[in-house]
Symmetry: C2
Subunit: 133 residues, 2 copies
């Protein structure tokens, strides 16, 4: 028997707040965002809902941050780019051209997903660097 899931206020607000932004927040940041609407929500509930929504494929977990998990409300195919100066994570929508069939043949793996993450210096930090010189 499959476990049913219910739509609670908490789950709904966690999802809504995550889908509002493109900042790829950590669980802690989501907690802060959600608390403005539900002051009594607990951090554990935020964690549990993020985990469940990710399992259901409604949101995505990002391993891009060295120390904490980040979450993305946008599940469409896109890449990320993190600024090595300020740490922010932006979206990149490029059409990638890796030949998955060839990869399957080369590796013997059945490829089910991929993650491409870019690192660089964002426009803001680049201009700051120019100013500082």
């Amino acid at each position: 028997m499959i476990k049913q899931t219910r739509i609670t206020k908490q789950r709904q607000v966690v999802l809504e707040e995550l889908q509002k932004v493109t900042t790829h927040p950590t669980a802690d940041m989501v907690y802060d965002m959600v608390r403005k609407r539900l002051p009594n929500i607990s951090l554990g509930t935020v964690y549990r809902n993020l985990e469940l929504l990710a399992e259901q494929g409604i949101i995505r977990k990002l391993n891009i941050d060295e120390h904490k998990m980040r979450f993305d409300g946008n599940t469409s195919n896109h890449f990320h780019i993190q600024c090595i100066e300020c740490g922010k994570v932006d979206d990149v929508s490029i059409c990638e051209n890796i030949d998955w069939l060839e990869l399957t043949q080369d590796t013997g793996y059945e490829i089910t997903g991929h993650r491409i993450e870019l690192f660089g210096i964002c426009p803001d930090c680049r201009s700051k660097q120019l100013q500082d010189q």
Copy 2:
């Protein structure tokens, strides 16, 4: 005055053991490997050395694991592929064909690095799945 680094037995063995394998071990796994040669080494020392070696670009930190940091003694350009069944991380050497210059123009970022990680089902798990049917 730049801080000098010394070549200690511990640092040497951590590096050697990491470079011996292609299994992308966690700090804990490196600790176990190193302890066979240096039974008195402490986990803190392993962490400190892995961190330092990564800073110096001699090894690489991998964010591919959901829960812990993994380390890679191979710093040449290659991708990783993780089996979603058994969790192991293999190397993939493919020649990727992303146009970095175009990306810089599109995003405004100065691209300094990238990470491509693939997920799939490894040959072993694929054949196990066939057997189970």
